[in-house]
């Protein structure tokens, strides 16, 4: 846990006002060195983390020296997704591809067929572009650490482990057996 150097009495600060929540102290500008136990906690070495499948919650990352803590909200890019689709490629043309989209934001919307420009696909995803390939498409806003809001459209093709040669052979063998059985 972060430890504030300016200790305040939370009860005194409340006065006579009734509160629903006790807010964690926000005076985090100056921090003191973590005790060793806190560092161990970060890596789950001495707590019951090994029995918990939950993440480390809103525990702040370790700052084990006297530092000014950067604003947690401004230290990272923030993405707000407006719409998400899951697409399946149906046809690849010279400069475009046809896909069927399922609305992942609102599953009540019917699937729709779209034609997208190949330019929309990241270069390193192009080898994955083939009939039957799955991709994830989202549009939304991204707020940069500098405060700039950008409108973004992101397409990422699903990546799955490549089958080993032995697995491929086994699949073909099973297919041959099945075909032979059906021809009888």
């Amino acid at each position: 846990m972060l430890t504030s150097t300016s200790v305040r009495d939370p009860v005194a600060a409340l006065g006579s006002r009734e509160v629903g929540v006790l807010f964690p102290a926000f005076e985090k500008e100056f921090l003191v060195r973590h005790p060793l136990i806190a560092m161990k906690t970060r890596f789950g070495l001495n707590t019951d983390e090994d029995t918990k499948s939950s993440p480390q919650g809103q525990r702040a990352p370790s700052e084990d020296i006297l530092v000014r803590l950067p604003s947690l909200r401004k230290s990272k890019w923030k993405v707000k997704v407006l719409q998400r689709w899951i697409g399946e490629v149906e046809q690849v043309k010279a400069e475009r591809f046809v896909a069927m989209l399922v609305d992942a934001t609102n599953s009540r919307n019917p699937p729709e067929q779209v034609e997208l420009d190949l330019e929309e696909v990241s270069e390193s995803d192009l080898p994955l572009l083939a009939e039957g390939a799955t991709f994830y498409w989202s549009i939304g806003y991204r707020d940069t650490p500098g405060g700039q809001r950008q409108r973004i459209s992101t397409i990422r093709f699903a990546r799955h482990p490549r089958l080993k040669e032995a697995d491929v052979q086994q699949i073909f063998s099973q297919a041959d057996l099945l075909a032979a059985y059906l021809q009888k």
Binding site: L22, L45, S53, G57, R73, G140, P161, R162
Partner: protein, 218 residues
């Protein structure tokens, strides 16, 4: 769903891991991430005891007994599931004893009254006033089973946000345990569970947030 100020999805696994395997270049060599992502990943530490690095869209921390894969980009939550499933389709003999699907939200409440209202609603103060001055909710975790057949064990945590002023932190965890002997079963059960439950858990988390915050008058 109401829009959170911060949104995060995390896949946590418990078991016995070899952290040094989990390097960006290994993921790149297995074609599980883009080559450029493997090259540009920001490595915090890679040692026998711990591996930790991040790319533009996910963060991975692996200890010898725990793995956590997370993303703060809701547009990448499906690829996050695919990545976790693919890693353990390859490392299918890795003993994994538990799988946790997690969604973390920070919501800024519209008013001080509604913010305190969350605490009043979930932890009425009348019970505590005889023994405390100024009682307030710091943290609450509820545990229960998912109503959906085949669902896991749910933990729903509510706290005041430490990251968003006048905010509420919600953590929804659904946990699945290996059914048999994890040594022999390895991680073979993990990809199936991920594909079966990930979208359901993510949707459930959004509905839970809407439900809980909807109970409070704004």
């Amino acid at each position: 769903m109401r829009t959170p100020d911060l949104d995060n999805a995390t896949i946590v696994m418990l078991g016995s891991f070899n952290p040094t395997i989990f390097q960006p270049r290994w993921l790149g060599a297995q074609h599980l991430i883009r080559p450029e992502e493997a090259e540009s990943a920001k490595i915090e530490i890679i040692r026998a005891e711990v591996a930790e690095f991040s790319t533009e869209w996910f963060h991975l921390q692996v200890l010898q007994n725990r793995l956590a894969l997370s993303s703060a980009d809701p547009g990448q939550y499906s690829p996050l599931r695919d990545l976790a499933a693919a890693m353990f389709a390859i490392l299918s003999h890795t003993p994994v004893t538990a799988l946790g699907l997690n969604r973390l939200f920070h919501f800024k409440m519209p008013s001080s009254e509604s913010w305190h209202g969350v605490g009043h609603l979930l932890a009425p103060k009348e019970l505590w006033k005889p023994i405390m001055e100024g009682p307030g909710l710091r943290t609450m975790t509820m545990e229960g089973r998912h109503k959906q057949p085949g669902g896991g064990l749910l933990h729903i945590k509510v706290e005041p946000s430490a990251k968003v002023e006048q905010g509420v932190y919600l953590e929804i965890n659904e946990e699945f345990r290996a059914s048999g002997d994890s040594e022999s079963e390895g991680a073979q059960w993990v990809p199936g569970r991920l594909f079966q439950h990930w979208d359901v858990t993510m949707k459930f988390a959004e509905e839970t947030a809407d439900y809980l915050l909807g109970l409070v008058k704004s």
